[in-house]
Structures are given as structure tokens and as C-alpha cells.
Symmetry: C2
Subunit: 338 residues, 2 copies
């Protein structure tokens, strides 16, 4: 490693759907780690839908990436120089290293990754933020109970696939919604969902009604046409766990909606609970999550799938494709060999 | 009393705002009470916004009133003939007697009203369904905590006035929204609200922001422009207790809204909880509610106000006026002298 690394920066704020021209590849200088800091070589970078929001300067739960700044992101890396007690060269860690080949960060931002427990990149997926999102959403937000029916949108994604598998293990009836026949077949045949509907189908609403006439829980990752199709099926006392709304992220599909008064009426007359969730509020639940889910991943009861882009240069294109549903399972960038 | 009574029936289903022509006055025959039944002379009839929904044949949480059927409503009356154990002539009771001078009902639908505790018509208001709505909404749905800020719409109405006073007693900061200067003055000077904004003000959003820059709880009775003004002020982790949406009931003010994607984005990024509530789900909480609130009413710590229409004939006009905000406090019809 040199004192400079390659990084992807935000070149311009997109209007609507981002383009590769909104990103730039730059060479960034890394200083030597000061006391309490480490230098990390990035091995795996996570790409997640929330990053689309960080490209805008709209007020949100986190500050936007500044123009010209390195794109933010969680990554797994190896420590190549440590000036922090308790961390040594060679340790595998996860932290906010960004879209970069390397970073110097305070050790307080690091968590250790145990390479013996599972492949290290699962710390970004099924055993990381997406898995924790699924677990907290199902337990704390959706209050899932055996015998209930749950509809999971983005069913084969990093979050949805874990939601559905955990819900099945708890005795819920699980209906997925995903983009295309291949993903739906995977949801049913590999992940064990009871059914899966292609959200591109003209008769999405009818198919969904046939599969799930009474929906106790809607695990909302997408918004758009799927939400409009699920809402009339919600049962009295139903819960909508609002985790994402990827269909609307690029200012697209805004016509695929229903008027707010109709939504309000549904919430009132059916006594629904709609609750938003951001996983960073629930870091205190990580150990309980890992205690339950890591063994299920280790013995194959919870399966996961990855789409891997090779090399940091591929990150922008992989990110744009993911926003259009081009990934299949967790979207990763392999930045360097482990 | 004769064997016939006067009653108000549903003559036609309104398109938009109802008119007096949607109601008819009819003479209804009452049979002698069978075993387990009583005959009641109605003294006080309650008029409530939810009744607008029963005039439509849309699917809702309760069946619509059939065309030609007596308008439904809770009322307080005196038993004039009893064929039910435990109920005697002269007892004051509350039940689903409808917009009528009298009714024959199963005693299982009755609850006793104690005339020594408070004026009997309060069983329809501050100590009845509206009061219970306020209490359950504040406790169980909004999860109100001392030090928080609550915005209460329809602030001087039968529900809102109790919400605000109970919230003040618990140490919340209470901002009302009501229709007009007189109601707002009453909310602040008589009910003890910290501030009250006129929802008809051109600069409603600015005034509300100045009074309540961070809103932990929005007690939603109205929808429309008030909701649009409150939403940007909601704090992270805020709750919206969705109890009613009177601004939209007649298919009016549907332009006073925001797009659902914007609502969804607010719920997600601020981790809001939006929950609908129908008071009939919470009948098991009535005793706990009365134990707490009846003493507060008795010694004047919780105040209430009534708008009284004299005579059953006045019910339709009073109902229409109430939907436009013409009432001040609980809307009642005095059907007969007690």
C-alpha cells in the first residue's frame, strides 16, 4: 500500500436517477494514523439503497455527502497499521470506510469481524446492517406473531430475504413480492416463502389478493405499486414496518401511489400501525440479533445470496443497477482479495 | 308515552356534504319489551363526526346505516318499561338508542349512568366515548410523556378538549388548533393550553412552527391543512394518534394534502409511528378511565363545554353544523327533559 488510495467521490447531485457521471474517481492521500486511529485496507464495500438519499442535499436523518466528498459506506477491511490499543495489523474489522481502497479512522468506529464464524463479507449483509434491519423490523416494529400473514417486498434483497426466512421459522405465512420470475422462484424454492408475486405483473393487485387476502404485516421496502396493492388487503390491527421506499427514491413512480386521505382512512378504519425504522437507532440489539441469527446462517437454515462487483471502479455502475433491481441478494463490491 | 315515537331516518346517501334532505322524520312503532329487553325514553342524543361515515355505503369498521333506517347514535335515556332483570323503571341508562325519542333494546346493550356523579349527559361526552377516546389515545396510542410537546387538532371539541387538559396535567406542552379566535381563546384561557392556532389562518404553518417547532405527538382529529402544517414539525420518534379526519369526511378539502411519498419519507426518516384508533376496541379501559377522569371532572380540574340543540327535530341541522365546526365543545341534542 502507498500513502495514496483510489476513492469514489460525489461529483454532482443527481436530478432523479443518478448517472455514472455523478461520480468521480480520485486519488486520496491517507495520513499516518494518529493515537487511537488505525489504517485499513478495504476488502469489501457494501452498496445499499439508503446511499441514494445521501446524494441529495435534502434534510434527512443523516447529513448528505458533500460535493467532492468520498461516498459514504460501510465496508470490511484489514488493519494495515494500528496506533490504537486492542487493534493489531491483520485484524479484520468493519467500519465506515466509504467507497475507497483504504481509510484512516478512529478505532471507536470499528467493530471486529470474526473470520471463523462466517465469510467476512456477511458482516455487511445477512449478519450485518441488513440482517439487523430485518430482525428488528420483524420483532420490534412489526411485532410478528405465529399464524399471521406477512407480505415482504424486495423479497430476495438483503433485508427482505432475511425477513421472510425468519418469519417462516416463526410460523408466519410469508408472501414475497420481487422483480421477475427468477427472483420469485428463488424466494419460494430456496428461501421457503409460501408464495411470491412479480411486482411487474399487470395484475399485481389481483395476484396478491389471491395469495394473501388478509395481511397482518406488510414489510415495506419499496412504496409505489406494491404498497398500493397491499393496502386494501391489510387486516384490522395490521402493521406496516416502513424500512425503505426504493421505488420512489429517484423521484420516479410518483404516480404509482394513492391519495393521502385514502391512506389516512385505511389507517383509521383498520386501526393500522405504520412505523418507520432506521437501523442505526437499534445498535443495542446487535448482540441479541447475532446470538439468534448467526447460528442459523452457519448451519444453512438462513440462506443468503450475493451480487458481487469486482473492483472499486465498478461501484457506481453496480449501485445504479441495484437501484433498478439488477442485484440478486446483497450487493457488494470486492475491492481487494482478502 | 305512546307506542309510537318520532325518529330521524336516512333518506338518501349524501354525495359530499350531507343536506337536511338526506334525513327524514318518521313515526316508528315500538313493541313491548320482550324478556331481557327494556323500553327507553331518550333524553339526550350524542352527535359525533363518525356518523358521517355511517351515511355512506363504503366498507368501514362498522356497517352503514341502511337507507330508510333510523340514524345510529349513542344516547342517554330513562327506562319506562323493563322486562330485564336488574333494570327498573326510572333507571338512567346509556345505549345505542339512535336518533329517536325512544327505543326498545336488549339490556346487554345498556350501561347504567349514575345521576349523582355528574350531569347525565356527560356520559356522552367528557365521561363517555369522547373522553375515553382522548384518554386511550393519549395513553395507549400516543404514549404521552411529561416534557413532550403535543399538538391537538379540533382542540375545543369533545375529544380534543379532554386530550389537551389531560396532557397539561401530565406535564406536556400543549398546542391546540381550532377554528376561530373564540375557540382558541377558550382553549388557552379556560382549558389551560399553552397556545392555540386558528386553522383558518393563512399563515397556519408559520404560526404553528413558531408555537411548536418540535412536535412529539400530533393528536389527529382533522386531516387536511392542519396535518400538512404539522408534519414538517414532527420530531424524530414522534407519534401521530389518528382518531379522525373530519376535514376530509365530506370528500372536501382533498387538495389540502401532501403526496403519499412525502408522508412515507417523513415517517421513515423521522421514525414516526402513525396509529389509527377506534374507541370501541377499548371498552375494557372504561373503568380505568372513569377512575382517573371522573374525579377531575367532578372538582372542575377537567372542564367541558356543550352545544345543545333543543328537540330531536333539530338533530340534522345540528349535525351538519358540527361537521363544519359550528359546535363549541360536545354537540348534544336534548330530546326530552330529564
Amino acid at each position: 500500500m502507498t500513502d495514496t488510495v483510489k476513492a469514489i467521490t460525489l461529483a454532482s447531485r443527481p436530478k432523479g436517477a443518478p448517472a455514472t457521471s455523478d461520480f468521480a474517481t480520485e486519488t486520496v492521500e491517507l495520513k499516518a494514523p494518529e493515537a487511537g486511529q488505525v489504517r485499513v485496507q478495504v476488502l469489501w464495500l457494501s452498496l445499499d439503497p439508503y446511499m441514494r438519499g445521501r446524494m441529495d442535499d435534502a434534510k434527512s436523518y443523516a447529513a448528505p455527502v458533500p460535493l467532492g466528498g468520498v461516498m459514504e459506506g460501510e465496508a470490511v477491511g484489514r488493519i494495515v497499521a494500528s496506533n490504537a490499543e486492542g487493534f493489531a495489523e491483520g485484524d479484520i474489522v468493519i467500519g465506515p470506510f466509504g467507497w475507497s481502497e483504504g481509510a484512516v479512522v478512529d478505532a471507536t468506529h470499528l467493530r471486529r469481524v470474526d473470520p471463523d464464524r462466517a465469510p467476512i463479507q456477511t458482516a455487511l449483509g445477512v449478519l450485518g446492517m441488513p440482517g439487523l434491519t430485518a430482525w428488528v423490523g420483524l420483532n420490534d416494529i412489526a411485532e410478528a406473531k405465529a399464524g399471521e400473514t406477512i407480505v415482504v417486498s424486495a423479497a430476495t434483497g438483503a433485508v427482505g430475504s432475511v425477513v421472510g426466512q425468519l418469519a417462516k421459522a416463526r410460523g408466519l405465512r410469508v408472501i414475497g413480492v420481487a422483480g421477475g420470475a427468477e427472483k420469485c422462484a428463488y424466494a419460494v424454492e430456496e428461501l421457503g416463502f409460501d408464495a411470491c408475486i412479480d411486482h411487474r405483473a399487470e395484475d399485481l393487485a389481483e395476484q396478491l389478493k389471491a395469495a394473501a387476502p388478509e395481511v397482518d404485516i406488510y414489510f415495506e421496502n419499496v412504496g409505489g405499486a406494491t404498497l398500493a396493492a397491499v393496502l386494501p388487503l391489510m387486516a384490522v390491527g395490521g402493521r406496516i414496518a416502513l424500512i425503505g421506499m426504493i421505488a420512489w427514491y429517484n423521484g420516479k413512480n410518483l404516480d404509482q401511489t394513492i391519495p393521502l386521505p385514502a391512506m389516512w382512512r385505511a389507517i383509521l378504519t383498520k386501526r393500522l400501525k405504520v412505523q418507520g425504522m432506521i437501523v442505526m437507532d437499534h445498535a443495542d440489539r446487535r448482540e441479541a440479533f447475532l446470538d439468534e441469527v448467526a447460528p442459523l446462517v452457519a448451519d444453512g437454515r438462513v440462506k443468503y445470496r450475493e451480487t458481487v462487483a469486482e473492483g472499486l471502479d465498478q461501484a457506481p455502475e453496480a449501485f445504479l443497477a441495484m437501484l433498478e433491481g439488477g442485484n440478486f441478494g446483497k450487493q457488494l463490491v470486492k475491492v481487494a482479495d482478502a
